[in-house]
Symmetry: C2
Amino acid sequence: MKKLNINELDKQLKQLSNWSLVNGKLYKEFIFTDFKNAFSFMTEVAKKADTMDHHPDWSNSYNKVGINLSTHSAGGITEIDIKFAKAIEKSASKYH
Amino acid sequence: MKKLNINELDKQLKQLSNWSLVNGKLYKEFIFTDFKNAFSFMTEVAKKADTMDHHPDWSNSYNKVGINLSTHSAGGITEIDIKFAKAIEKSASKYH
């Protein structure tokens, strides 16, 4: 899996709603109505992570979930992070 | 719920294995064999959080789970954080 260059990354970021590049990782904060919904979303994302064998660095505080994506072995953001971000968006969209 | 004073907190910390006081919160990092076990532990803790109506600030990176506990309404650490820390220990002990 090859690290995306800045042009490829810029193009992909334009297609992702409110994801940004923070400390070399794809980052987005999701806000839910409460903890129950936030953790239910996390449970769905965890299943996808296991299926894809690709895991987020993430944090949760009550109704907020912050997600960082990058590919450690490539030292940056790769196609798999973009694919994962899109899958995460799909899960999140159920809660809005 | 009243914030514990430093003597009460010191006494409680001595009874909790490897929890420390970090930025005014009770903190511990748990390490598991893999993501699956880390997230399974988190799922158990999330259920306890809902039951207790008391929620952690926590993060996960693959097999690591970092947990911060405090009582926002009391502006510090209270008995409920100690109770929650003990419940978390009980969940974590199943994975070792």
